[in-house]
Amino acid sequence: MHTFCKSLTLGISILIVLSVAVLSFAQSAPPTPAGLPGDGRLPASVPGSVTSKNDVPRSLAPYFTPAIGAPKPTDPDGFIQRWMLLEPIVKQNRSNTPFVGTYVRKAFTAEYFPDQFTVVPRDGDKVTVNNQELKWHALDSAAFDVKLFRFAYGLNKPTYGVIFWAVAVVDSPHEMKNVRMAVGSNSASMWWLNGNEAANLFDDRRMVMDDVVSNRLTLQKGKNTIRGAVINGPGLSDFCIRFIDEDGNPIKDLTVAVQK
């Protein structure tokens, strides 16, 4: 009897300890993410890649081709298709609801790699971020937009909970005053022209062409550096950029060369 009582007491104690442990875990687990399509549950593999039973070998095709050869003009609607893209930096976010302006500014002004606001990278250049080696890729987008999700997915890199950096050096045949940078992105993003902040897209967003249009800018004759950062939780990271004139017409006589 005495042994039985001891065993029972021990069993109850273990049960209590386990219960407390379970409750503690539940309380410390992140809240159910909200603001997602469907029922709000995240893909099981966050941060990670899209999973599928039919997972096939991945590539950047048909979304991107290597940027080689002659300078690339804009597409017929003025969208810039040639970019230097850095493999994604992991920045865990289980939803996109935090992407208010304050958060995004802080996320992008943190230093991830040296000279991140001045570097003009070349294809194959590498940086180390949080002990992860990340590579710059010189790519031409097949579409008007730059499907960052497909960039990451094609390289077997994390697709959700990420920050992408993008750089393009745009050549203008002459000085152009009073132009505007027109941007769409999924999700939040910030964009600089020649080192100056030009357009900010805060809060959770889908990519809409000409979503945010900058104040009047000047494209200098010759080279102009566009630099951008896009952040996303779960979602199809993406952006599109073009310049428009005062009447809202696209500027099409710009080219982007391969950086050597």
Binding site: G35, P37, G38, D39, V50, K53, G184, R206, D210
Partner: protein, 510 residues
Amino acid sequence: MKSKFLVVVALTMLFICACGTAFAQLGGDPYIHDPSTVIQSDGKYYVFGTGGGGLISDDGYTWHSGAVRPGGGVAPDVIKIGDRYYVAYAVGGGGMSGGHASNVKVMWTKTLNPKSPDFEFHDVGVVASSDGVEDCDAIDPAFLYAKGHLWLSYGTYFGFIRIVELDPKSGKRVLGNKPVNVAIDMEATDLLYREGWYYLLGTHGTCCDGPNSTYNIRVGRSKNPLGPYVDNMGIPLLKGGGKLVVAASGRHYGTGHFGLLDLDDGVQKFSMHYEADMDRSARSVLDIRPLLWKDGWPVGGDNFEEGVYEIQSERSGGALELAVDFVRIDTGRRGGFGAPMPSQTHQNLPVQNGQNPAPPAGGFWGSPAGPVTPLPNQTLDQDSAVWPQGSIGVDLNDYMVRPHQIWKIAPVPDAGGYPGSPYFKITIAGTDRALAASVDGEVVTAPSFTGAPEQLWRIDELTDGTYRIMPKHMPGSDDQVALTAIGASSLALIRFDHNSDKARWNFRRP
């Protein structure tokens, strides 16, 4: 003591909040998420939602659970073609359980009434799918049957919205038909056809986040059902375009999942859910509202708001009024530049602050000779002094801001309703005298509101923003009739003619 005080304050606030609760638009328990198109079957209205089941209503206003839809899955849609109700729904995908692999399934039944012996769903099978890798997630299906073709749109924020064609006789995918990409940045699409244009509506923004859901419904159009769809600025929906149809307002956040409810006779409504009804614990609820059309674009209208109005005929501009003697406002002046007539004194002027005001000098024109002061409108007591007792007829006349031309319109609790709205009573403001239908299609006012069916009014906003006004019942007849200006000044209740201005009305603030 302090804690008791705080409890009292809390309870008081709760009471105040409860008393200040806005009049809910749909009655009963309209709780649903991702609603299908609202559809009629065997004399009742049905709507289905995510997860299975759905709601039923006898009148389109008061809703309760009880609709039956097997198969589970998300965001169904329903359409009636011939003697079949086709239901489409999606299983898998949506980012749930880790992926975007999904199947859109179709089934049919001859009735949606679960108590009918004809109620039995027959599986058609999978009509669209996504493999989890391609640029599409096959959820949120929506039907359009137009010009002999049955189209199905589907998709969500992962990749493209796509359209496929189904066989209207079987519900199956047309042999060899390939999906076409038509939009991005949306989910919960719906398709409309009107006057040569195809419209693709979709929900933008975030769902499923209660009062922080940014869900809103947008639209593009095309002459071709397979696009390209563009919005009012010419921005392709394949590039994120979309003209706003309806967004959050008042106490309702997160509008999504548009469905057309075409009631014929020029009356169109649409159903949707709010992610959060702040008067119902921020729960996801169904609503039904008027659909307007402006310059070829659908616009989400608002349900009629109770208040005090002039009711103006679109035909003649005349105001609905009691057919009573016109009572003049006597200011003690006559028109023109002349001095006051000896027989006119200030005793007829309305009393102000307990004293008879001094007579104003001069007529109504020219520079004022004395102080300029506001004069009150005619009061109800002054106007009603000449009204007869009992029933009083109505007519149309020039609007003069007279009490016999000003109406209070208020919803009637527990009297039922019609799609999207409760019935209203229409009374002369400040009185209980109520507009009523009488026998032989006449319109009168009864001395008091009794709640009888002939005193209950249905107010539907038409697609051009004017209104149709119909009694719930006309004594001695089962005809559906509407308030109609049969002459510039005369009214009757006759069959609604949506092609004429004579049965269209405007509600103007007095």
